[in-house]
């Protein structure tokens, strides 16, 4: 659906060049929700704005629906933009226009006759759940409602793609949830391809099928959202994942523990409890669960357990080995110190 090839955007000022986007290539499939994550200044917003040529890339190609956007004339580009909806962090509604007029403006831009504009705008407002606000002005609406209006405006001309520029970053967590639900709904019902950029990993976890992580203008990691969460490769990605799934075990606990602390990750269909109970039955060890958590990414479970295993060090070692054969990821956070520290510590 969207294909970006070797795209770079370099800002040239008198003294120096700043690289906004550095040779990024991405392929976004039809009907998927694709997230681009990164800290501010990573170039994700620039990349998104290159997808409808709000910013013209310095080099590279942008294809949407097999149309080479950079080869289009001004007029054809305007036409193409009508099938690429966009929403923004700051909503960007015309304050002097009513909600209905704001939505109808997009239809006017496409040259639709007045009656059709109003009818369609009303249907769109219904879709986003704001039929009763049609004649109000944006200043009278809450942030979440404003974003709904701008979603209705973006959907006005039946776009194939919706670009979301930090669309939920200005909203509180509850409103964010409801906007994400709405995006998911239109993704399913209208088969819309959605590209969203965000610095909140929570958003990716909630709705993205696939995602890319950006740093200093480059894509450092990309893949299916679940894979990214289950086994992040890049250091930055790991840092992002930690903002939503925190496995952190307190340092104090690690020091005090007399056993071996292992962190286990359960992906896909593996059931954590059976693995743990089997382990405790098969080996002569005791287990103490320090931390357990199951996250759902795209409705697939991702579980993490941190356990303290105590008992004969050799038996514990064998137990850990057997865990490693069953699970993809088993990490020993500390080692049994009872062997090399004969003096028992005060509890």
């Amino acid at each position: 659906m969207i294909s970006i090839q070797e795209l770079s955007k370099i800002y040239t000022s008198k003294k120096k060049q700043v690289i906004g986007v550095d040779k990024v290539s991405l392929d976004i499939q039809e009907g998927e929700i694709y997230g681009i994550v990164g800290y501010s200044g990573a170039g994700k917003s620039t990349l998104l704005r290159c997808m409808n040529i709000l910013e013209r890339p310095t080099s590279g190609k942008v294809y949407i629906d097999d149309i080479d956007l950079l080869s289009l004339s001004k007029k054809d580009l305007r036409k193409a933009r009508q099938s690429i909806g966009m929403i923004f962090q700051g909503f960007h509604l015309a304050m002097g226009k009513t909600v209905l007029e704001n939505v109808a403006f997009a239809l006017k831009a496409a040259g639709k006759p007045k009656q059709e504009r109003n009818d369609r705008a009303r249907r769109l407002l219904e879709l986003v759940g704001l039929s009763d606000k049609a004649d109000q002005y944006p200043a009278q609406l809450s942030g979440g409602q404003k974003q709904r209006v701008s979603i209705a405006r973006a959907l006005a001309n039946d776009p194939k793609v919706l670009l979301c520029d930090e669309a939920t970053s200005a909203l509180d967590p509850n409103t964010t949830q409801s906007i994400l639900k709405l995006l998911k709904k239109i993704n399913r019902e209208l088969g819309l391809t959605i590209v969203l950029i965000t610095h909140e990993m929570e958003v990716v976890k909630e709705i993205c099928d696939r995602c890319a992580v950006m740093e200093e203008g480059k894509v450092v990691e990309q893949g299916a959202a679940y894979e990214i969460f289950a086994s992040p490769q890049n250091a930055l990605t790991k840092r992002f994942i930690r903002t939503v799934i925190d496995f952190h075990v307190p340092e104090e606990l690690l020091k005090k523990s007399r056993g071996t602390i292992v962190q286990m990750k359960f992906t896909g269909g593996q059931a954590g409890d059976t693995v743990v109970s089997d382990l405790l039955q098969n080996y002569k060890i005791k287990g103490n669960i320090l931390h357990g958590n199951v996250d759902y990414i795209q409705e697939k479970a991702l579980g993490t357990f941190v356990m303290e295993l105590t008992g004969d060090p050799q038996e514990v070692g064998r137990a850990v080995e057997s865990l490693k054969t069953i699970l993809d990821e088993v990490e020993v956070l500390n080692h049994d110190r009872s062997a090399d520290q004969p003096v028992a510590r005060a509890e």
Binding site: N52, L54, R78, K79, A80, R81, Q82, I84, G85, M86, F88, G90, F91, H92, L93, A94, M95, G96, K97, F105, A106, K108, A109, A110, Y137, P138, A139, Q140, S150, R153, A154, A156, N157, L163
Partner: protein, 220 residues
């Protein structure tokens, strides 16, 4: 004093009408020429959808050029042009040529600066909708700056009332002319005070009406 006022009345009435004509024409021209010029200055600016540094530069220089000439000098400077245009350099219509020339760049700058206050994001969203430049100007920029345009027109009107007195002094007529002829040349303080009071009232009324109108068109 009443007698004095009755004597002065016909002259005062005529002068007042002359002032209104001068200021009215000046304002009309400011809207017709200054408004598009101001919008042109805005949309050709850096990072805007019709960015064009040559047009922006040329219009900018023209506007600054006219604005840097003191009005009384502009008046005299334009005499040949006024004469060519109307065949005379006296009377309120002739004076309104110079007033218009001063009003155009003045209003253009006001239009430009109120357009700068628009949230650039709104324009960007319109571009992302695939709107044409003309539609963006007509349907987004213009309605968003309407209150600013009216306040700007009020400021221009009041400046023009001031300028019209100078135009009056060199044959344009109007209230300023009356004040100078009677008040200055004949030391007639009564006429002087009356004209000042008329001007004060006029300015107050213009300001009040302008504020009211700006508030009326301001929706949200």
């Amino acid at each position: 004093m009443i007698d004095q006022l009755i004597n002065l009345w016909p002259e005062l009435n005529k002068s007042f009408m002359e002032t209104l004509i001068m200021v009215g024409i000046g304002l009309g021209v400011a809207v017709i020429a200054g408004l598009p010029l101001g919008l042109l200055l805005f949309v050709t600016d850096r990072d805007l959808f019709l960015e064009n540094k040559w047009i922006k530069g040329a219009v900018g220089i023209f506007v600054n050029l006219v604005r840097s000439i003191p009005f009384i000098i502009l008046l005299v400077f334009l005499f040949p042009f006024t004469n060519f245009l109307l065949g005379t350099t006296t009377g309120p219509i002739a004076a309104s040529v110079a007033l218009s020339a001063a009003a155009i760049p003045f209003y253009a700058r006001i239009v430009e600066s109120s357009a700068r206050d628009i949230d650039k994001g709104v324009i960007e969203a319109a571009i992302a909708c695939g709107a044409s430049p003309w539609l963006i100007i007509k349907d987004i920029i213009f309605p968003e700056i309407k209150p600013g345009l009216i306040s700007g027109l009020t400021i221009t009107a009041i400046s023009l009332i001031g300028y019209s007195a100078m135009a009056g002094a060199i044959g344009g007529g109007g209230i300023g002319d009356l004040a100078i002829r009677y008040g200055y040349y004949r030391y007639d303080n009564f006429v002087m005070f009356t004209t000042v009071i008329v001007l004060i009232v006029l300015v107050q009324v213009v300001q009040y009406a302008g504020d009211f109108l700006a508030k009326t068109v301001k929706k949200s």
